[in-house]
Amino acid sequence: MATTITMPQLGETVTEGTVERWLKKPGDAIDKYEAFVEVSTDKVNSEVPSPVTGTIRDFLIAEGTTVATGTPIAIIDEVAAASVNANAEPAAASAPAPASTNSHPAAKRGLVQTGTPEQALRGASPAVRRLAREHQIDVSAIRGTGANGRVTAEDVLAASRTAPARPASGTSTYGEPVPGTLIPLAGARRIIAERMVESKHAAPHAWSMVEADVTNAWKWRTREKDDFERETGYKLTLLPFFIRAVVESLGAFPLMNARFAAPSASSGQAGIYVEKDVNIGIAIGLATNLVVPVVKHADKLSIKGIAIASGELIDRARRNKLSADDLQGGTFTVNNNGANGSYASAPIINAGQAGIVTMEAIVKKPIVTEDDAIAIRHMMNVCLSLDHRVVDGYVASRFLADLKRRLEAMGPAGAL
């Protein structure tokens, strides 16, 4: 029985996906739940499992092609699980033996089993599968020391200790940068590059900066942080306080929570679309990647609510566990650039938004107060890049002044 596989919907609001890489060839045998294709959406790459056991008859689209969810992408000839044996299935019998088997170091030690990698993984324990993936070990090239020649987790680890390190394949990471070599552009890196060029070209960026006195907000945060961490497990930074001030300012200046809409194919009309929701993207720099998970409906959340939501997102980002939905729907972006000591920066707008603000480093400075005294205060620069097609300096500077006023009014006490 032939089963048609369609492009899965990887997240509630995802409408299309790109076939990044086929993990199998037509004619390959495939187990139910075995991954056969890597699909990428905006920033998430996912391996998609087969819903049936059988043999792959055909792939319907080429690697790199983007199609709408629900579009047929592959056909699998389904077979009863019991008959999937190498001797019974002509497709499996005619499948070429993997060329890499003979060149694998384990082969030279005579540790070679027959069978394709796929067949070797059948019956492999979860630990063997995980370790083989982590260490990029071909299980079919290992002779098992377990019962009936089963490859054990210890066998995989032993093989990994003798196998040479392979270069990282680099779907979403740089791998180890090696001087004098080209790192192929792939996965998230490619998408980031394209998005940045697109935004910087399409949206005329203007830039502005204010300096805010966050002494009281800082005191408030310092007093609450231990209780907060004990209660929630997340560290309390100034970020949720800042986001709260930003969403309040966005409420006062709805044009900052908007996007420039190019002429659409249906209506042909360009314009400024003012967003209904206030969803704040948080730019998070990882070693080789940049992700912007979104705190949804941030205007409906207290500082504590924002702190928990952003804590969860940052935690998931660091563990590489963000879902497609986590990354969707942002209407404005906040970048905590000061965490690494930056004093001022000119950020690039996340395409499809009117602006982005940064929190720069908090620095203790002598300040002349209103009554001409000199005081030591915690000062922080706030930088804004805006899409000049959407708003002008008049709105933007009033937005920034409003944000500064709100930040300075926060603390030193209150309920989170």
Partner: protein, 333 residues
Amino acid sequence: MAVSASSKVMNNVETVRETLYEAMKNDDRTVILGEDVGDRGNVFLITKDFVKEFGPERVIDTPIAEASIVGIAVGMAMEGLRPIAEIQFADFIYPAFNQIVGEAAKTRYRSNGEYTCPLVIRTPYGGGVRGALSHSVSIEALFYHVPGLKIVAPAFPADVKGLLNAAIDDPDPVLFLEHKKTYRLIKGEVPGGHYTIPLGKADVKKAGTQLTVVSYGLYVHWALEAANQLETEGISVEVVDLRSIRPMDRGTILESVRKTRKLLIVHEDNKFGGVGAEISAMVAEEALFDLDAPIRRHCAPDVPAMGYALPLEEEYMSSPGEMAEAMREMARF
């Protein structure tokens, strides 16, 4: 653990007796009640002469009415006493099921924290003593489903003392299971003075690298015997003594399984729905990708009871030899 007096070697039943005696002496609120705990001094002589020293108001002989024993103890506990109720054999606990599950376990929740139920229910359980149908059962699986109830099943004298003290101190009901075959069989060093061992903490009784065995009660001793035999064969087995069945120490189990990648659970209770079912489900949920072999449960067959005839009892019970064979198979896998 504050040890003020020197340690001494005792068996499990002597340790229970001495720990109860200290509890009676140190706190006037402590009351012992149960069948034959007074003049008879308990069927294992655990409370022998207690009634002479502490009087019949604190060492109470009850009728053969288990629901009343626990029901009265629940009332005592809610009103400020520290009752230690005894069910003479675990096989007789069923009439008290409603009092334990329906009343004691829910007191704190039902009263929104206004009342607690600092009650210990002690009972000898388990087989291998030719106890036949009504002196051999394991009852832990019937109770461990119940939130609000703590269940302890120590194997070693030092653990008996520390956990019984912790159970008596605990503000909520604790079911304290004493394996009757270990009563006089198992001797060990017991620290002097008052000390407690936290409820809900397992103990690695033997460290190993190739296989984790989780057990409790009598079977911990047999598992250790088997594991020591396997050590001479070059197979390294880690033995985790659960000690507390609920709260269950997930952390210690997971840490061990993540190290050895293989899990064998041995218990005397029936396999279906037993404590091993919860452990294997938990490990499958939390550590699937660390497992290098299917989880295995080596437990009693699903027959209604342990027979009196020796071949029937032996068929029902495991043995160090059977455990060693199960361990060898898992290690070879």
